[in-house]
């Protein structure tokens, strides 16, 4: 089986498991129908758009779907556990903490892959500048993701929510600033 087909099988499995947990959440707790719908439908819709509108090798996109499915699965699983009474209040906090840690690790995972993505970028920007931006973005996302994961692991939930968000937002702001700088300098206009 080719890498691309294997990634497809994994992604389909991940999306189906998420959908099953979303349906279970909606059945167990109808007042959380909106959460179940958003959690269960967002990923397949985004993935469908990627499959339809992009060409070439889709292995990377499918791997991203698998990782994103795992993140949504943890979040929906915690909600389902709380709704079904399997998780108490303290365990619910632990679940929130796990989602935060996992979210940080997912950000680091995607950051790690950014420098490998060579093709899709502004063609007006020269190759050296493009490479420098991708390396910068990769390192920033990895460090911000690991920082956020550590924050969620070590601090109480209330503090972690504030500091984890600030770290991630700071990382994203740094990358966006570099992207704007890179785009303006690289523009031929």
């Amino acid at each position: 089986m080719s890498k691309e087909r294997f990634a497809l099988a994994l992604a389909v499995t991940g999306v189906l498991i998420v959908a099953a947990v979303a349906v279970a959440l909606a059945l167990v707790s109808p007042d959380r129908l909106r959460t179940a719908l958003v959690g269960g439908l967002t990923l397949p819709i985004l993935w469908g758009a990627v499959e339809l509108f992009t060409g070439g090798d889709k292995t990377e996109a499918r791997h991203a779907v698998v990782v994103a499915s795992a993140l949504v699965l943890v979040a929906l699983g915690v909600k389902l556990g709380q709704a079904a009474g399997w998780l108490g209040h303290d365990e619910g906090r632990l679940g929130t903490q796990l989602v935060g840690i996992f979210g940080g690790l997912v950000m680091a995972y995607f950051g790690n892959r950014i420098p490998k993505l060579l093709e899709r970028f502004n063609p007006r920007v020269d190759a050296a500048r493009r490479q420098a931006f991708q390396r910068h973005a990769g390192w920033v996302f990895v460090l911000a993701g690991l920082g956020s994961a550590l924050t969620w692991a070590l601090l109480p939930v209330e503090s972690a929510r504030l500091w984890g968000t600030l770290i991630v937002a700071g990382g994203v702001a740094l990358v966006v600033a570099r992207l704007i700088q890179c785009g303006l300098r690289g523009s031929k206009a």
């Binding site: 950051g111 790690n112 892959r113 990769g138 990895v142």
Partner: protein, 100 residues
Amino acid sequence: MSGVFRALADPTRRQVLALLKERPLSAGELADRFDVSKPTMSAHFNVLREAGLIDATRQGKAIIYRLRMSVLEEALMGLAQTVGLDLKSAPATLPKEEGS
């Protein structure tokens, strides 16, 4: 992953990667920086390409090599440099290989 470790184990290949961190370079530009034979350089490029650390595209008659290292791979290279060859203190060109 073993291909990545194999590729990073060699100081010449690490030096190629360090040069490509600055900007994409042609095979000729890279070969000029090293005092080794072209077949040897070509073999180094192949190892790096098979490990997925660089990407080669043909532009006219030239082959342009670009860095394609993940953050983890770059960190591993930094570790390899620290425990192995210190590139900053190494000469710009390596001594000529004998018998290659």
